[in-house]
């Protein structure tokens, strides 16, 4: 299925996912040239509409748009009419009147980008919605894994942390299983959503066992604001059981790679020694993010031209 939106991974077919990844390879080259800019989206306008704090994702989308020669405008919830109580629909309708081509949306409510997509003629990209999905993160993770390992099929990928609240975990579980990886999810029982097995993943509550023989160890950020709640006693307790240090890393394959979507809590879910170690591809993920977002903007802009709406 090709549409002019990128709202989730769940409804993407494998062919479309591979198209995103293959196209990103070309843009990866562009970002390593002397002139890191192509004229492809000249005259197009991209609005980054972020209702949640973000440095990496917003900057990544902004750089991606600029390297394609699009005009990029950033709107964040603080200091905007959103903080004055305007509804999401009104905000979107007003931005729409300025004729943007693409709206990149991050919102704390699951489904907000889908709602916006139904109410706008622009292309909509989900940059993270609540605990639902974060499709470009999953695409950049897959891109990074593919570059490191050659292929994703049959790899063992262990995703560890607060799976319930992680849109990164959800998007990755969808994407990696579609591409034929064996996905394990690991975390405290209190952080594991009921029925997660239905995504085709294997569930573990023992980190060492989950890491055994893995090709990829993907750590999730522990949200410190959830500390003290029932599901999460103390950082030290969590770290002892589910933090990635050298001991658990040694359970994985010798050439396993370590991933983290950022921002990292050093010493909580990941040991600094591992985060900065030779098996870490955490900064490769960030570089891949720009390429993947360039590919997304490029492909969606092409689709938008097909549509009678624009």
């Amino acid at each position: 299925m090709t549409t002019k939106h990128l709202l989730d991974i769940e409804t993407l077919d494998t062919q479309r996912i591979v198209q995103f990844l293959d196209t990103a390879e070309v843009f990866f080259d562009v970002s390593r040239r002397k002139v890191r800019k192509v004229p492809t989206l000249r005259g197009k306008t991209v609005i980054n509409l972020f209702f949640e704090a973000s440095t990496r994702t917003r900057t990544s989308f902004e750089i991606a748009g600029k390297r394609l020669s699009a005009d990029v405008v950033n709107v964040s919830s603080s200091g905007s009419s959103v903080s004055k109580g305007e509804t999401l629909l009104d905000t979107v309708k007003n931005l729409e009147a300025m004729r943007p081509d693409v709206l990149v949306i991050r919102h704390s409510s699951s489904g907000a980008p889908h709602f916006v997509a139904k109410n706008t003629a622009s292309s909509v990209i989900n940059a993270g919605d609540g605990t639902h999905e974060h499709p470009t993160q999953a695409l950049l993770d897959a891109f990074t894994i593919r570059r490191a390992k050659g292929s994703i099929r049959d790899l063992v990928v262990t995703i560890t942390g607060d799976v319930t609240h992680s849109r990164v975990a959800r998007s990755n579980a969808h994407l990696l299983t579609k591409l034929g990886a064996k996905v394990r999810v690991c975390g405290p029982r209190t952080m594991m959503p009921v029925g997660i097995e239905q995504l085709g993943v294997e569930v573990f509550d023992d980190f060492a066992r989950a890491a055994e023989g893995a090709d990829v160890l993907m750590m999730l950020r522990i949200q410190r604001e959830r500390m003290g709640e029932v599901l999460f006693p103390t950082a030290r307790e969590y770290s002892r059981q589910f933090g990635l240090g050298r001991r658990v890393l040694s359970m994985a394959k010798p050439d396993a790679i370590v991933m983290h979507p950022g921002p990292m809590n050093r010493g909580v879910e990941i040991d600094p020694e591992v985060a900065d170690g030779p098996q870490s591809v955490i900064l490769d993920q960030v570089e891949a993010g720009v390429a993947v977002r360039m590919a997304t903007l490029y492909l969606l802009a092409g689709e938008a031209g097909q549509s009678p709406l624009s």
């Binding site: 293959d22 080259d29 562009v30 802009a301 092409g302 938008a304 097909q306």
Partner: protein
């Protein structure tokens, strides 16, 4: 596609002779091949660029570097008529500054591909000069662009399609052929810039 309505405008021998002549013209005009490099426009221009390299080596006894350029990021019609085209990789692994670039394509038509290719080259450096070589010039220019080296000028109608077949997988002979497409069918002439 019905092969019966195709007319061959260059056969394998004619292509080989035209390329030999072009290689001679290139070395004559540039007094050798010293500062020269070849850049093939993906995808039709790439095999031609490699053939020219072999011919230039025979004439001048030196290998000139060969790169490839994909023009899709430099198109002027993204989102105009169809889905975003599949982008390929450009591969120019040598410095273009101060070089004479021989840009090679199989068919010269509207000139829009060449415009895009020149823009792409400029993002890789500042060549001393860019010269254009094409095997077939089929007319219908929409931009003020002319080739420096041409294999053959062929009169065509807009609803015809020109294909250059080199080193085909079914080992059919090299050839350039013209066939009619029926004006409404978006064939290569609609897709090609």
């Amino acid at each position: 596609m019905d092969p019966s309505n195709a007319r061959i405008v260059m056969d394998a021998d004619e292509i080989a002779r035209a390329l030999r002549r072009i290689a001679g013209e290139v070395t004559e005009r540039n007094r050798g091949a010293e500062a020269l490099c070849l850049v093939g426009v993906r995808r039709g221009g790439v095999p031609l660029a490699y053939r020219l390299r072999v011919l230039l080596r025979e004439l001048e006894g030196r290998d000139v570097p060969v790169g490839t350029v994909d023009i899709n990021l430099y198109r002027d019609d993204l989102g105009v008529s169809r889905a975003a085209p599949v982008v390929g990789r450009s591969d120019i692994h040598f410095d273009l500054d101060g070089r004479v670039v021989l840009l090679v394509d199989d068919v010269l038509y509207t000139g829009r591909t060449v415009r895009a290719a020149i823009d792409a080259l400029m993002d890789y450096g500042r060549p001393r000069a860019v010269q254009l070589c094409c095997l077939i010039d089929r007319g219908h220019r929409e931009l003020p662009i002319a080739a420096d080296y041409v294999g053959r000028v062929v009169a065509t109608a807009r609803d015809e399609r020109v294909d250059v077949v080199l080193d085909s997988e079914d080992s059919s002979p090299d050839r350039a052929e013209v066939r009619s497409t029926g004006a409404s069918k978006p064939g290569k002439e609609a897709g090609a810039l």
